[in-house]
């Protein structure tokens, strides 16, 4: 009210008017420049998610002439009652747990090594990072050959006098074999992030620890690891999100077999959507997977935050 009174009392000068017009124009230009990106996000990210959520309450089949027919929670009920879904969820969780901890521990070890001013360290960093820039599909094909009966791994095993191993065809081994490939693939990217984390830990913390008589292990546990905690929270969360959505390597290396031992939830979604044309069920499964990823990610972030508070 007071402002209105003042503005009503004071006449607006031509300079203020011009400045206001310029600001409006700048805002409009900004909006025009941002519009393509906003449009992209709305059309290709937001809308598909909303539409998929809607489809999860329908019986939609893309091959059918009639559009989606609402059927309430039927898709969710069918999926939750299906043994295949729970098997796939179990496989996905096991796969994630098999990949994330080793890929983080090894990446920290490699980052510590790559952080030393050694000769040829640049080449070492590049070599470790190389798998990151290779497409997962191409890497999966190469590893498929490495694991084959005539592949490198069976050759190495034969040098040790051990019988050839059916890496990808044994229900007991297939998931572990794919997990090893995924650890190899994740190492480079994780190492670079940890390396960046290591380089921002202030050097005086190490000096202070040395003055206090800390040995190398004590410095690692009480300076390095706490210093890496924010990066670790990010790397773990992102890795969990990626791994819960694993598909390409499974599709190429095992097709979900043998005996469903490598069928991840995303592989199941692929089958429901594109082999059985059950887009309603596939969408419901996708949202159930989203819920699980969300819970795991939140749990992970909370875990790290709690540690930081305690520290």
């Amino acid at each position: 009210m007071a402002i209105e009174t003042i503005s009503a009392a004071r006449p607006v000068s031509p300079t203020t008017k011009r400045r206001g017009a310029i600001q409006k124009r700048i805002a409009l230009t900004g909006m025009i420049f941002a519009a393509p990106a906003v449009l992209y996000v709305l059309v290709f990210n937001v809308f598909p998610v909303i539409y998929a959520f809607y489809l999860s309450f329908t019986n939609y089949s893309p091959i059918a002439r009639q559009g989606p027919q609402i059927q309430g929670l039927d898709s969710y009920r069918t999926v939750l009652a299906s043994g295949q879904f729970w098997n796939a969820m179990g496989v996905t969780i096991q796969y994630t747990l098999e990949v994330v901890p080793p890929s983080i521990i090894l990446a920290i070890a490699l980052a510590l090594l790559a952080n030393r001013p050694l000769r040829g360290i640049g080449l070492f960093r590049a070599m470790v990072y190389l798998p990151r820039i290779v497409s997962l599909t191409a890497a999966s094909l190469v590893w498929l050959w490495l694991y084959s009966d005539q592949g490198l791994f069976n050759y190495l095993v034969s040098l040790l006098g051990i019988d050839k191993i059916e890496w990808l065809n044994s229900p007991a081994l297939a998931l572990h074999a794919v997990a090893v490939m995924r650890i190899w693939k994740a190492l480079g990217g994780n190492m670079v992030l940890f390396l960046a984390g290591l380089q921002v830990i202030p050097g005086d913390l190490y000096e202070a620890a040395a003055i206090d008589g800390a040995n190398k292990w004590a410095k690692f546990f009480y300076v390095t690891l706490p210093g890496l905690r924010p990066v670790m929270a990010y790397v773990t969360t992102v890795n969990i999100i990626y791994l819960f959505q694993s598909f390409s390597e499974i599709y190429i290396m095992t097709q979900g077999g043998p005996t469903e031992s490598t069928t991840t939830v995303n592989m199941l979604i692929y089958r429901q959507a594109f082999q059985y044309n059950q887009l309603g069920q596939a969408s419901a499964t996708a949202f159930l997977l989203f819920a699980v990823i969300f819970i795991f990610a939140i749990f992970n972030i909370r875990l790290v935050s709690a540690r930081r508070t305690n520290a």
Partner: protein
């Protein structure tokens, strides 16, 4: 000024985009020629080269009013892309697909009935296609035109046969003979099979093909005659699966899962090429690839006539077939292209490159059999209706996946053959009842 210019630019863009969409959707170019869109399954470079550099130009030269846009789509992406195309109204006029997809397309009114076109074919041509002309029959209507055949027969290494003292002139004809020959050909090291006497698909969908072969040979069927009930857990089914399991398990095993991914590996690593398998259940295109890459090995490979137990049978039939989109604005031009693709002359060139066996019986008398002798048993099996396909019902892919899951469990002895087939029949039966 700025706003006006932005508005004019957007208007221009909209006009250009909408006019190009309109041009695309009509399929008619300004010169009045008809443009048809064709999707072929696969990712073979020699095949797409033949199609784009030879076959399509030949067709367009003979039919100047028709232009053909051919696109190759990887088998794995074909159904997703087609479904998206159907849903979005941009599916191709003509597409190639497996026979098993026919019922799904037909029931959902996505493909055109080809009855009128096929009935107009001359008698000799229809006879030449044999029973396959009626493949993909849904509710009494034909929806596909067979392009090439697909079937699995036993190929064997003649050099290893001779070395094992087996008679090349009398390859195995039934299960006992097959198992005995495989036993003689099997080599072990420390109790482990290092050379499989017999190799077949034992995982994934290839396990279903192997099981179907044994089941048909035992006189059984996957579903009943009207496709309303599961019959794969019949006495014949259990016998077939037990035989399959015995071949890969126990101290007398003649095969191994080690090469289950052979289809994904380079052809030079195929067990028949490396000598890790003496007999293998393969399709003609695998042998054509071996001939192209390792002609030296192919000299020592021959194909057995189909095995018989209760009856002579093998899994197979029509491989890739051609369909016309129900919404195509150019069905006649599409059919002309299909007619051209399934003509004897075109198939000669096409099958020479793809290695798939042509489905026309007249090829038995052609020089193809002299050039590629391994084709003869496939052509003969096709001509004698020995190949039997999977049931053609919309739910088949789902039923097949259920069966495959349990076949794998039986193969690694997590379940007995009877328990696996019964469990598969129960799960699939309730699904079939819902459909």
């Amino acid at each position: 000024m700025f706003r006006r210019m932005a508005f004019i630019a957007m208007l221009l863009m909209f006009t250009v985009i909408s006019s190009s969409f309109a041009a695309c959707s009509s399929g008619l170019s300004s010169s009045g020629t008809t443009r048809i869109k064709v999707w072929f399954p696969g990712n073979s470079v020699p095949e797409s080269d033949l199609m784009l550099k030879t076959l399509v130009p030949e067709f367009e030269k003979a039919n100047p009013s028709i232009k053909v846009d051919v696109q190759y789509v990887d088998w794995g992406s074909l159904s997703p892309k087609l479904n998206s195309g159907f849903a979005g109204g941009i599916a191709p006029d003509v597409f190639g697909h497996g026979t098993a997809a026919t019922a799904g397309f037909a029931v959902n009114n996505r493909v055109l009935s080809l009855d009128d076109y096929i009935n107009k074919l001359d008698e000799a041509t229809r006879k030449d296609f044999g029973a396959t002309i009626n493949a993909g029959l849904v509710n009494g209507h034909r929806y596909m035109m067979p392009l090439v055949g697909d079937g699995q027969l036993y190929a064997y290494r003649t050099d290893l046969f001779q070395a094992a003292g087996l008679d090349l002139a009398h390859p195995p004809t039934n299960w006992d003979e097959l198992q005995n020959a495989a036993r003689k050909l099997t080599q072990r090291q420390g109790g482990k099979v290092v050379r499989a006497g017999l190799q077949f698909g034992s995982t994934g969908i290839s396990a279903e093909g192997t099981f179907a072969s044994f089941l048909y040979q035992a006189g059984g069927q996957l579903l009943n005659k009207d496709n309303t009930a599961i019959t794969w857990n019949s006495e014949q089914g259990i016998k077939a699966l037990q035989f399959m399991v015995n071949l890969y398990n126990g101290p007398d095993a003649v095969g191994t899962n080690a090469n289950a991914n052979a289809a994904l590996l380079p052809i030079s690593q195929h067990p028949l090429v490396t000598g890790q398998a003496a007999i293998a259940l393969v399709g003609s295109s695998t042998l054509a690839s071996i001939q192209r890459v390792r002609p030296d090995v192919m000299k020592n490979i021959a194909v057995m006539p189909p095995i018989s137990q209760e009856q002579q049978a093998a899994f197979g039939g029509t491989g890739t077939a051609l369909f016309i989109n129900k919404d195509s604005k150019h069905p006649d031009a599409s059919w002309r292209f299909i007619q051209y693709m399934t003509s004897f002359t075109t198939l000669q060139k096409y099958t020479n490159v793809t290695g798939a066996f042509p489905i026309r019986t007249s090829f038995l008398k052609s020089d193809l059999v002299q050039k590629q002798p391994f084709m003869k048993p496939y052509l003969e099996a096709e001509a004698s209706n020995i190949f039997q396909p999977n049931p053609d019902i919309p739910a088949w892919i789902q039923l097949r996946d259920i069966l495959t899951r349990y076949l794998e469990k039986a193969m690694v002895q997590q379940m007995t053959p009877k328990a696996a087939l019964d469990a598969a029949a129960q799960e699939a039966g309730s699904l079939l009842a819902k459909k």
